[in-house]
Amino acid sequence: MTQGEAQAFRIVAEALEPRLERFFAQLGVPTSDRDDLFQETCLRLYRGAASYDARRPFLPWALTVARRVMLNWHRARKPTVELDEARCVADTLRPVPESSDADDVWAFARARLPAAAYELLWLRYGEGLEPAEIAAVTRRTPVHVRVLLHRARAALAAALEHDGTGI
């Protein structure tokens, strides 16, 4: 690794660290594991730098790698179960915030929505990605992402209405 590469990597890592910290935190990674996930993500980004297309935005690519690292971490920490059950397990193991007050709409959404729907909402409104970018990150088609986002918004709106707090 040359001096220039090290400096460039440090700049990228410093810019990415707060974003990935927030990304991992929002998607339920405990504080104790975020350090490892950040390190693994950075190593993969470094190794795969040659495959990055500089004409495209960097953040979706970095989030794609970070999401894969996080999914591997999820698989490694829990036993293998059937797919239908896995979704339930993921939902039950997901740390539910102590205050799911509707004032904090993100905490409310995390408590009420399935993990996949919450992830899409976070990528769209938390990270500010476009549906096409979310599709690349989550390996779905843009149309599928739009449909899932619509359903997630509708479910969240219904939950807020049902809770009596409204939007």
């Binding site: 707060p18 950075c42 190593l43």
Partner: protein, 139 residues
């Protein structure tokens, strides 16, 4: 109803964007650890990267092998169908007899088809062998 739904969604989107938690300050120690771990990495790619001259060398070797294989296999194909001895001088009668024989096209169909099949088989065999050797060298 639809307008109300759109308004609801727009307000919800606005609320989600506004209430997204901000990023925390950079955790410098974490960045330092990552940078340090990168310095300890073995140089990846250096062991897999081929020398620039290797590609040219490989192409030349492949071309040489192709030429050698062609030179070796071509005589074998020719030997399967040895050249017939030159025709002896013939008279006009014998030529007419020959023409008479050629006059019946059905008699020539069989030998020509057999010859064509033989040539085709030889060509396919030669191509397959050359391809196999070439691909084995290149890949």
């Amino acid at each position: 109803m639809n307008n109300r739904s759109n308004t609801t969604f727009t307000e919800l989107e606005k609320r989600l964007r506004q209430s997204a938690p901000p990023c925390a300050p950079v955790h410098i120690a974490r960045v330092e650890r990552v940078c340090a771990s990168l310095n300890d990495l073995p140089p990846t790619g250096a062991s897999h990267a081929s020398h620039p001259a290797f590609g040219l060398f490989a192409r030349r070797v492949a071309a040489l092998v192709l030429i050698v294989l062609t030179a070796v296999l071509a005589p074998r194909v020719v030997m399967r169908h040895p050249q017939k001895p030159p025709l002896l001088p013939f008279s006009a009668n014998s030529l007419l007899d020959g023409l008479n024989a050629l006059h019946i096209p059905q008699r020539m169909t069989g030998p020509l088809a057999t010859e064509s099949e033989n040539l085709l088989t030889d060509l396919v065999t030669l191509t397959a062998v050359v391809n196999e050797r070439t691909f084995a060298i290149l890949f």
